[in-house]
């Protein structure tokens, strides 16, 4: 589980072009890390490719914090 969380945080940092130490569990993707709709779409694709899961657009739109992203990956169905 820890490994997944670490990988998710790496992907968030790379996608948002921010320093890794800013990506903490409680950080808000939009409010604290400056993610916009394009960033969220890119993040969704990067996560799906890395973890081989499917994240619906509606689910992606519900995500607010880094911790939410980790939870979404852990509960997401594997891609067919």
């Amino acid at each position: 589980m820890e490994a997944i969380a670490d990988k998710v945080k790496q992907i968030i940092a790379k996608t948002l072009t921010i320093e890794a130490d800013k990506v903490v569990d409680t950080a808000g993707l939009a409010d604290d890390l400056g993610a916009d709709s394009l960033d969220m779409a890119e993040l969704g694709m990067a996560l799906q490719e890395e973890f081989g899961v499917e994240i619906a657009d509606e689910q992606l739109s519900q995500i607010r914090t880094v911790k939410d992203v980790v939870s979404a990956i852990q509960s997401a169905p594997k891609s067919a």
Binding site: I18, A41, E42
Partner: protein
């Protein structure tokens, strides 16, 4: 990754300068970004006409979502400007372009960047066209130390 740059040259016209000191008016640097990227697309994407066909059919929309400019020195009427274009941060739906503009003495006048994204004209992001992605990959900057100011917006 390479440090290859796509390069165009431009002579400064009088109508690109302002009334105060005869220096280049600031918005022209952004205009030159546009000139540079258009020539880049036309020259480096072999199926550019096909890409534009998708644009005209309202299937593919290329959107400039971000632009930064750093003005370091003035340029003047008659100067020969070299505009270097590099790319980076290529993702699924977007990539960045980085611009260095230099005068004839190889002094850097300007650093700029812009982020381009693609959607379907209905708000759904779509992949970077494949030929454009190959071109973007081949001009991707690997060493940001060539920029003095753009480093501030890179991690």
């Amino acid at each position: 990754m390479t440090d290859r740059a796509f390069i165009i040259r431009h002579k400064v016209y009088f109508n690109e300068t302002n009334a105060v000191g005869g220096v280049v008016y600031f918005s022209n640097y952004v205009k030159w970004q546009g000139m540079s990227r258009e020539k880049y697309f036309v020259d480096t994407c072999p199926d550019w006409p096909e890409i534009m066909k998708h644009v005209y059919e309202l299937k593919l929309n290329m959107i400039t979502v971000e632009e930064h400019s750093y003005f370091l020195q003035h340029a003047f009427f008659g100067d020969d400007i070299t505009i270097e274009l590099r790319t980076g941060n290529a993702k699924k739906f977007s990539f960045d372009m980085f611009f260095l503009m230099k005068n004839g003495r190889n002094e850097t006048l300007y650093e700029g960047m812009q982020k381009l994204a693609f959607d379907d004209f209905k708000g759904k992001y779509v992949n970077i066209p494949e030929s454009m992605r190959r071109s973007v990959d081949s001009y991707s900057v690997s060493d940001f130390s060539i920029f003095t100011r753009l480093k501030k917006i890179q991690p």
